[in-house]
Amino acid sequence: MKLYDVADLAVRNLRESIFRNSLTTIGISVGVASLVAMLSLGIGLQQLASRRLQKSGLFDTVVATSRRDLRNFREQREEGPPPAESPSLDEPARIKIAQIPGVVEAYPDIRFVTDVRVDDKPHLTMVAGIPFSARNNNDAFDAMQGSFFSSDEAAEVILQKSFAEELLGITPKPDADNTNLADLAKPLLGKQLTMRYAERASAPSSPSLGPSNSAAYSVVSRQQALKIVGLTDLDPDSLRGMARARVFLPLRLAQDLHIMQSNLRDTSASDSPSYTSLSVRVQNPNQVPAVEDAIKKMGFSAFSIVDATRSMRQFFAVLDGFLAIFGSLALAVASIGIVNTLVMAILERRREIGIMKAIGASDADVRGLFFAEAGAMGLVGGAVGVTLGWAIGRLINFGMNIYLERQHFPSAQIWSVPLWLVLSAIGFSIVVSLLSGLYPASRAARLDPVQALRYE
């Protein structure tokens, strides 16, 4: 039989007992729906987690350091030139690194411990420069109070929540971790803050010492007035661990202030300082190893923690697997429904099968017909099920966001139905249905026409 005829006869047969076949198809769609709902939540959670992690800068950032750094003398396991001969991590090197394919930006790390005064009360804290691009790719600034820096050179600061609490004299209770950020922001936003720092100024050139004496500089104590523009709950500086900053200012401003940093070692002219470390942000976590290699080839040290994403992916693969198994249980039950429906159909259509065989239908024709019926139920059940699963996932997402809102958490998309899930769910439904049709179809094909036609 031609494919068209098989499909035509199958649809006709399905219509003949529309009620029973509809029930079976609903069974399949419930199975597919549970599978899709489970997986859409699994995938959604995975995407949420990886989005968070990516924005944290943990997985798309390579830290480049100079090998001349004293800290590297101890570990000389890396290939490349010995530390003394390795190039200086200066501005030309930064520009070169920024041009490596896949690199979005490379910026120096500026951080220093200093004295910050609000209302003339001194507070000692770590201060860090934040690149202007962090506005869009650091989720710490997604849910902040106030606003991000108005420009890369604005005399503005953003405070971390714990520092704000310190300024206001609030001791956070260990059990209640959700002091309202908005309450903290009210008295602080727009306030002036004075930051004291040490400026590294070039030494007046002395002709007697010559140009080789470029390491000479003087330190001048200065202070800078800054306006508090924002307050963030999450830690924008999570990559730093112990050296976490609590006050953030625009990176460009920090650079322009020529702040004397403990980790900034000047080995060349003061106008072109050499950095001990650069943060290199990469477009895609997959490109991290390649960028890391490229930086190493240039003679610098580089490290990233991209390996951690692998274990995260593994975790989600296991989670998705579990969700898929639970989701598939309903589909397994539905497949028994298909077997039942088709076996019933054989009993009912025994005579019809006998007639078809008597007038020339081959085993393959009969088998194909039952297969097509199973496949059609799978196709329709799969399509309806995907729609249903999509709706269920959406509903769960909606409910979860109401819950998050009540708990004062930012809303999040914990549900995702990518196209591949839609297609593979329908495909899986068809395959399961065809497998379920295997036994009934071969039973129908083997039916003895003489027995089937015996006059009752």
Binding site: R351, I359, G360, S362, L453
Partner: protein, 256 residues
Amino acid sequence: MEISGTNPVAVRTEKVSRHYQMGEALVRAVDGISIDIRSGEFVALLGASGSGKSSLLNLVAGLDRPTSGAVTVHGNNLAALSREQLAKYRLHTVGMVFQSFNLIPSMSLLENVELPMRFAEVDRRERSALARQSLERVGLSGRLSHRPMELSGGEQQRASLARALINRPKLLLADEPTGNLDSRTGTEIMELIRSFNQSLGMTIVMVTHEQALAEKYAGRMLHLADGKLVNDLSKDGVRGTSSEPMQAPGPGGKTQ
């Protein structure tokens, strides 16, 4: 139609038997029958209920396989055919009509008649035209879209004849085609079958238990009893072409 001794053999059975187990008892439904049916013959298989005439017809139709012996139709030894080839044989060489018509109730007459052509993979447009022609031929051109249940028995049997003829078979096998019909419609059906025999030269093998019907239409009558051939008579009283000598059925049909 006069039997022509020179016509080629259409159907040949050689000591064909079909036995099956029914509980403890072995039923010899067909028990060593050897016959030759020439192309263009109109043969009636006569006998009481359970004499094996339908079983023999099923063997010739390729619906069943013999326990022993051979059935050869137009040179094809059916026993040597695979299931797939046997289906092709039923599709192209044989047309069948049944006592209970055996139309598919969910299909219209046109669709019922088209069905064998679906299996033969005939193009959609072509098969619709052929099915219309075939239904027209049996006088049902006004009933194309009716379902079988909406028709009288005679009309259903006509439709089933139209279906049997659709793939232009060489052999028409009819199992009690008038068994469910009153005598007037039965006669109409028989006239149709005779016309196929005479105008198309189609070989007809008809199972019936009505002696009168057989005498009126068939050119040759084969009497079966207890699975054995007991009499082979041409219309004019001449012995048939069976290759085996006739045997009277012994007591209990146990003689061989």
